[in-house]
Subunit: 355 residues, 5 copies
């Protein structure tokens, strides 16, 4: 599913404050799973009624609620009512065309960003918007699709004997962010492979239309990736600057680590963009070189045979008085000329580097 | 109506402070409509004398006055006098070539920006300058044209049972801004469609002059759009920074939402600009590729027939002593040559990738 | 008079602090005119001795002294001595290759900027450096040329019944700045016309060398304009930031208006620069397209007639045993071939889009 | 070993906080060497058990521990435990795809950067990540490879009679940084040589595919170099801003000197990038020039011989009534024409600058 | 002497703090000249022992010591010892590949920058590094070469009756800076001339390889100039910000004047760079235009004569039954065709704008 650049205007005209899911209707129902843990206990279950999750509100244990699929607007509404989330935040959760951002509210933090993935051959971007609501001892994650992306985290929590489970909801939020950002490295690797393949083809073979289209396609994808990744710098520096009580002192160094990763990814994308521009230049120059080569062949062929044809034409003239025609050695002589003239021309062209 | 880039100098030479409408004379008269509401009551009417509207000044109800058409300068003068608006602000309202900006004055806020819209096929920008004067319980909107742009807002106010009507003039101003900015998404969608159509054509068909002109036209339009949209970031951050009593604490989060939209639009326009540059490169490279192809055909034709013609020419010579001429199998033999030489050449060219 | 980019080094080597007029010697003498006004009285006269003007120093009336032509260094020296102007400021007034700037001194403000104008066809820049010394109740304007540029201002002062004449020297300075900046809009209009003309030609006609030269010329002019206009932003923001007693509180809103105009001009120049770059791309692509077209003609001609010539050549051979030569219908048959082969080729080329 | 741009995702999926060496497995074992010195004594030895080094912790002498090869994760773990280094820092040391950065922790400073080197012919980058832990009287250096890079420093310490040995661990860290940064100058020299060679070739010889590939390769390498060097500015300014007690007042001027070098290197790389872009333009233009030359030859050959061939063809026609054929001087006359026509054309072409 | 971009690594490997002259060994010995002055007295002499100069240390008179040629390291060492100059500053003086910078130390200011000059035809840069040590009543200037660059300053001091000689070492330092910066204007003039010459050639004549090389050469030189000049902005703003007691209040306005000049030079260089880019575009487009023209000639020649040759070939066929051959008016008729066909084609081509 290649996203077009369109920033859907489906909602243009609706009053602000109306909760409508804007995006691809990927699933008809939402899947909710809940992980509740503290140092001693852990409980994981799939739930079917949002109220079940909301019971954990205010408990001492850390509760991680994941909602996959945004079609069921009533869930978001229920959460909004239970935790007193601002209407605009709820709208942002449901509108899957958000710019990545971090918002600090009184009782909760709101983070929204894009998860990106791709296959190498052909390079094809997949998008998923992920929103986080981070509250005291409660983290709610909204995903567009149902997948196993955060499986390793729940595994880690279950396996953790102590450390992870003693850390609060902010550390959980960090872990989720870190997982998403780490996946960008995988994406960059795919991009790198695609570009390297292209480069190899470009340097080893003749330029084809298909290569041009691949260059163009990758360029578009990089423009998209950059658009989604660039705001992450702002997002992370916003988190690092914020002094909410929801983020503990000890968590900042972890967030700074994510920030470093984000910087590396942004610079890497930028480098790839430049390399791709270089490939287009290579392509264009190769096309010119190719034309030069074709022109050389034409020039050589034409330049050699055109004079010869003229000479043959001369002795095909029907003048009555053409003494050479009667000369016995004329025919062999002209054949000699037919051989010598091209030989001289070819030598000359070789010297001029045209062959 | 495609705007040229001209920043009309019609007024150059006039003393500052002279109220003259500068812009296209779209309507000879101005249409005024008024919406007055509080939680309990609502009154909507079209008015013909500006004094009628000014009576609402100082009342507890929120009054929304819309003036469509700027030809009647006396209306602006009357408003200026009634609300003690600075002369330069009045001039800015009348001069429809303003840069989008936000100004904080003692008793009122002044906002001016461009509303942009377009059809997809062909992509053709329409401009309208919209100015807002936001005062305590009074919002005046100046529009160049008469259209239904703000109809949904008045509808919403009328339908609202409570919330909207309890919020002040700042929320109304936000709603108006939000409506205009939301329309930009529609514009970007049109732009996106136009670019996608162009891209498809470009990748599927031969490059034509018409495509080049379309690229050029879209490029110009994007330059225009960017010029009108870029100052919106400044406008919104100005509003967010200002600490006027006219904007209530609760409204800031809504303005921040508009700011987010503006950022998304700006980045989207930037991405489209880059994609369009990419399309021009594709076009130019396609032209080169096309020429290569034509050259190949020429080269192949010429390279095959020129030697053959030479050979035919040789046996058209009139020398007396040309033994081959009398040889019985000469003619079939030369025909054989006529077949073998091209066959060899074609094979060679195929191997060299020229066919 | 097209300015070259040269930043004359005529003075390189002179000690700093030597008053010498650097620039084109446009007039051998300087013309001085004086306008002295307060609410009640107004006096306008041409003066021939600088001392006459200096008598107004310290009076309650606002005195506006305009000096047109900088050849007479003694005038500048006398002013410098009378108002205690720093030596470097005097040098800057005389050196007409200044970068636009604003300087706040203890007792006076110094503003220097370029006035630019042009005709449309051909677009040809004219430069004039204008310096302002703004003091308490005294404004001195230094111009390089004698023209009517500020005529409308003096007219306005004379016509003004009250307001203008009650405002101080800072408002006069603002009016002068505003007049100069307003003229930039005229300049941009000329530029706009020139570019539009060029664009029309480019899209409607074949590319010519003349168009290329026009593009190049406009590009150079825009580089010059940008160089002169860009520092104005700094100049104006310097004025807005400065808290000199010479600028009254009420004047700032006017200066802010000029700042808005400057921003619009800068953005407009930038847009024109981009459009011009686009035109160069159009030009280059048109040249390629044109070549493609020429190549197609050549290819078609050559590809059709070269095989035919070969065939004719075949039956021009003089072999004794060529059975076709004796066949009665041979000649009509070959004519048939002469018609069918091109027909087939033309059809094929048409299908391949080469005709 | 040319690095690809890939930012390995090998660790994506692993929980944060797992110590794994990420990078090329260059050596199976790690080599540790230790230099312990104060003003009076100096001791240098290779050690095989990390505990031996840790005994020096807390002593008054400055201890410099170098670990070459990162395969043995237990060493890093032991150091982390002994000096209470944060888990994330240990991870950064082991992951050799770090962005250069400086981190100030309570009891130690962490610096990580890339050492780059290359040979001139062909220009081929080698990378090595070097991490520094700077503590009170203790500096630990982690290197990927075993080489003699820091030999001169240990030599200098051994030879130093007093000064160096009296300075603390911060001066040692500075010396190490300075050594790495100085090596960049060598790298830039290699790059400079490679570019100069290329430039010479490009200006003196015909453009070849090999040159294009060299340009492309150097461009890629510069993109890599820039990516690794650009963050150094931030690193150094971070060090200069930090007010850790670990950096003595006197050391700042030395760090500022390194900062100056870093600035020079960054600007130099930038200049080389621009020059390389210039070379690509030269290349592309040379290709066009070359094609022009080939086209001229073809044009001249074709234009001269095609009319002649036509003339010969005319007198090869078999009409019965062709009076010229019988004319005695016809043959010499046509030969005259065969000589005069090309002479005229050649003269004309020469005048038109086509030969 | 064209400088390459190399940032010599000759010293890489040397310990920091070793005084070695790095740069071209321009002179085997250093020439020292001394100017000592106060309001009443002035003394100028060439000295041969550095100790002679150092005697002036601490005196009330302003002492200006110029050292031309850096080969004699002992002089720098002696100065360093006498004035307690930091080791790194001494190194910077001797290493002639410094980035322009300003350093404020406790008892002295250190300024290092490049002096650039060139001839116009051909444009060829000459570099010289100039370092200044500004102390209370003492200025030491280090130059690489022996020339008359500062002659006008000493002349001015000698001629000055009062003012200059009453001002301190900071004014002397300003004068020296001003002299160097003023020479940049001369350089820019040379550059301007070189570019104008090139432009004229480019617009008036056919593009040649030599022009391409000139463009490339100027581009390189501008890259160099920019690299040397850009840090001057930082240098000057550093001086303007610093609040050392060594710079008197009154001197700041002079430094600000130098800053203005530096800004003008930087912008001028930038403009020239853009103009040069424009020239390259002109060049490339001219090459394309040229090729178009050549192609047209070829096309016209080939398109006219190829059909004629075919027709001649037709009547050169040897079929027995070709009725036209016997027709009496056949030969004149075909000649008529030979004239009409090209006439028609030429008319057609003219209409199509190909001739």
């Amino acid at each position: 599913m290649t996203e077009t650049l369109n920033t859907p205007s489906e909602k243009a005209g609706l009053p602000p404050g109306s909760l409508v899911h804007i995006g691809d209707e990927l699933h008809t129902s939402s899947k909710m799973s809940l992980l509740d843990y503290n140092q001693g206990n852990i409980e994981e279950k799939e739930i079917y009624d949002i109220q079940e999750a909301l019971k954990h509100k205010g408990s001492e244990t850390v509760t991680w609620l994941t909602i996959e699929g945004l079609a069921d607007v009533s869930i978001v509404e229920a959460i909004g009512a239970a935790f007193d989330i601002h209407q605009l935040v709820l709208e942002d959760i449901l509108n899957t065309h958000q710019r990545a951002k971090f918002e600090e509210h009184d009782d909760y933090l709101f983070i929204v960003l894009k998860y990106l993935e791709s296959d190498t051959e052909p390079f094809e971007l997949n998008y998923e918007q992920i929103s986080l609501l981070v509250m005291e001892n409660f983290v709610i994650v909204f995903k567009e699709k149902q997948d196993e992306l955060f499986k390793p985290i729940s595994q880690r929590i279950k396996n953790s004997k102590g450390r992870f489970r003693t850390l609060g909801s902010d550390y959980l939020a960090y872990t989720i962010l870190d997982t998403i950002v780490d996946q960008y490295f995988t994406l960059i690797d795919c991009l790198d492979d695609a570009i390297n393949n292209l480069e190899e083809e470009l340097l080893d073979y003749e330029p084809t239309e298909a290569m041009l289209h691949t260059i163009h396609k990758l360029k578009r994808e990089i423009i998209h990736i950059r658009r989604h990744i660039a705001p992450l710098r702002e997002l992370m520096s916003g988190m690092l600057r914020c002094d909410s009580e929801l983020i503990h002192e000890k968590t900042y160094i972890y967030l700074k680590d994510v920030m470093d990763h984000v910087m590396r990814i942004i610079e890497s994308v930028e480098s790839h963009r430049e390399i791709l521009s270089g490939l287009l230049e290579i392509y264009m120059t190769s096309v010119s070189n190719k034309m030069n080569e074709v022109m050389k062949v034409l020039t050589v062929f034409a330049s050699i045979f055109i004079p010869l044809t003229f000479m043959a034409g001369v002795y095909g003239m029907n003048f009555e008085y053409m003494p050479e025609l009667k000369w016995k050695w004329a025919y062999p002589t002209i054949w000699g000329t037919f051989i010598i003239v091209p030989a001289v021309l070819v030598t000359y062209f070789k010297k001029k580097n045209w062959l």
